[in-house]
């Protein structure tokens, strides 16, 4: 007995040390110079916390080893094999697995005899959040990898949404169930129904949310997985679970808020409303002729430009154009042109998506600038090259009050001397809002696949 108490004391001390390492690790992860070390530190914290937990185990060691080794194998394989363009869906998938783990932990706790009322509430909340994180992340994974095409408005989506709303009273019911069952004979299957409903609800939660809002959803799911872990910690009376889970919950929450702000929308609006469909009325007036341009002409203009701003969007990721973009940037710099990259916080499908792609292509990160850095000096830019971005450069956001995206901070490329827009066709962006930028006098449209178009410009430079 003495021995067991000692082990618990040691465990708790190590948990506190781990918690401190997690805190320092996540702090270092937020600064460019220390980010790599921060990640190592947090991995070390994880290793210590897991290691010390193994001093007192109830489960058969074979089960544990099998689970950890298999998990390590699968996780490492996915992490090493994944292409950098597939990072958003990978993060979503891992996140879902974390949620599933807490879901199973709470389920196992439910099967324990003699849960107090408070534990019962915690179990149900953990199951709910963990389950929604799991199935929601899977749907986000499907959407990001473009395997799942169903969106808002379809019949199936609406059915799932109904289940999502149904899940909330169900949660209240299962929380109150112990007191209800004192009067009414227990319905044994209610718990299993609740488990299933939770998973279906997660699908209904994420399914109606569209591609351009994905950065918000991913951050939110990330936050939820942390909160689920923190609740599981409360349930198991484990402090490191609480601290680490809360840190993740907080960081996800901050990213969610940053993303929502970058779109000038509230989180509830993104989750439950989506873009207003009134967009057509306001946009139809300012149409005109678009002015197409060929790669040859684009090259001639670029050759004489002294400053160029590249503004990438999701289209660059789809076309896998980041490597040719970097090549073009280097050739321009050799030619004496100043090159910058303007990165909008919600460009792409997850927070910082464009930064990762350009980093993969070896673009130095001090060339990347945020909207606030480039907008004031936009009129000194000779050529702004918009690659597969749309809503984040739409001047309606600053000029047209009736527009659904009015008020969203954008990169104001329309103030540059010349704008090249690389685009496949004239379809509107995710928001479904027509972009008056395309009809401006200083805009030239370079239609076609971004990778090919830029490839041609690069070839001309090399000749």
């Amino acid at each position: 007995m003495e021995n067991l108490a000692n082990i618990q004391v040691i465990q708790n001390i190590v948990y506190i040390v781990s918690s401190v390492m997690f805190i320092l690790g996540i702090k270092m992860l937020g600064k460019e110079a220390t980010a790599v070390k921060g990640n190592y530190l947090s991995a070390l914290a994880m290793f210590s916390a897991v290691g010390i937990t193994c001093l007192s185990l109830e489960i058969d060691i074979k089960i544990i080893l099998a689970g950890i080794l298999l998990g390590a194998l699968i996780g490492s394989l996915i992490a090493i094999k994944v292409k950098m363009t597939a990072i958003p869906e990978m993060v979503a998938l891992f996140n879902g697995f974390g949620g599933l783990a807490t879901f199973l932990i709470a389920w196992s706790q439910f099967n324990e005899p003699s849960n107090s009322m408070f534990q019962h509430v915690l179990i149900m909340l953990t199951i709910y959040i963990g389950g929604i994180t799991f199935s929601g992340s899977l749907i986000a994974y499907g959407k990001l990898s473009e395997k799942l095409k169903l969106g808002k408005g379809s019949m199936i989506t609406n059915i799932f949404i109904s289940f999502f709303y149904l899940s909330m009273p169900a949660l209240i019911y299962v929380i109150a169930e112990p007191s209800i069952s004192q009067f009414i004979p227990q319905v044994p299957s209610y718990f299993l129904i609740f488990l299933a409903l939770t998973l279906v609800a997660g699908i209904g939660f994420v399914m109606p949310i569209g591609g351009g809002d994905m950065p918000v959803v991913i951050s939110l799911l990330n936050s939820l997985s942390g909160i689920a872990a923190a609740f599981a910690g409360l349930l198991l009376l484990n402090n490191v679970l609480i601290v680490a889970g809360s840190l993740v919950g907080a960081s996800g929450l901050i990213l969610t808020i940053i993303m929502a702000k970058a779109m000038n929308r509230t989180i509830t609006n993104i989750l439950f409303v989506g873009y207003a469909s009134s967009s057509q009325s306001a946009s139809s007036e300012e149409q005109g002729e678009v002015k197409p341009i060929t790669s040859d002409d684009a090259y001639l203009i670029l050759e004489n430009a002294s400053s160029v701003l590249v503004v990438p969007g999701y289209g660059m990721a789809v076309a896998q154009a980041q490597h040719v973009v970097r090549e073009m940037g280097e050739l321009l710099e050799e030619n004496g042109t100043e090159v910058k990259y303007g990165i909008h916080p919600v460009a792409g499908r997850m927070p910082g998506h464009m930064n990762v792609l350009l980093a993969e292509a070896n673009v130095s990160y001090d060339l990347l600038a945020e909207p606030d850095d480039v907008n004031p000096s936009m009129d000194t830019i000779d050529v702004a090259i918009v690659i597969g971005a749309n809503d984040v450069v739409n001047p309606s956001a600053t000029e047209e009050e009736g527009s659904p995206i009015y008020g969203m901070p954008i990169i104001e490329v329309h103030n540059a001397k010349t704008v090249f827009v690389l685009k496949r066709s004239m379809s509107s962006g995710f928001a479904g809002v027509q972009n008056p930028l395309f009809f401006r006098d200083n805009t030239r449209m370079l239609f076609g696949d971004a990778k090919e178009s830029i490839g041609q410009i690069v070839a001309e430079f090399k000749d």
Binding site: I23, I59, I68, G71, G75, I87, N95, I105
Partner: protein
């Protein structure tokens, strides 16, 4: 119950600490931060290891929780590290 109050206090403090720590992060690091935080949420692995082994059902649940949390931990840290190693200043 006192224990819960104490741990609830830890929970609240940690959330505030997290909000303070991360409120100013350059957008370059948004993805690595998210992915790194995601790896940390694999701390559920510690919770999974604490489960009991009263029946076969409990063993299956514990195995599942350990497996999925491990995927989260290993995959999360490796992807984050891979991503961070790409960020360089020339």
């Amino acid at each position: 119950m006192e224990m819960y109050v104490l741990l609830g206090f830890v929970l609240l403090l940690s959330i505030f600490l997290g909000l303070e720590l991360i409120s100013k992060v350059p957008s370059t690091l948004h993805t690595p931060l998210m992915s790194g935080a995601n790896a940390i949420s694999g701390i559920a692995l510690v919770g999974a290891l604490m489960l009991s082994s009263a029946s076969q059902m409990q063993d299956v649940l514990a195995f599942g929780a350990i497996l999925f949390a491990s995927i989260n931990v290993f995959g999360g840290y490796l992807v984050t590290n891979r991503m961070l190693s790409m960020f360089k200043k020339k």
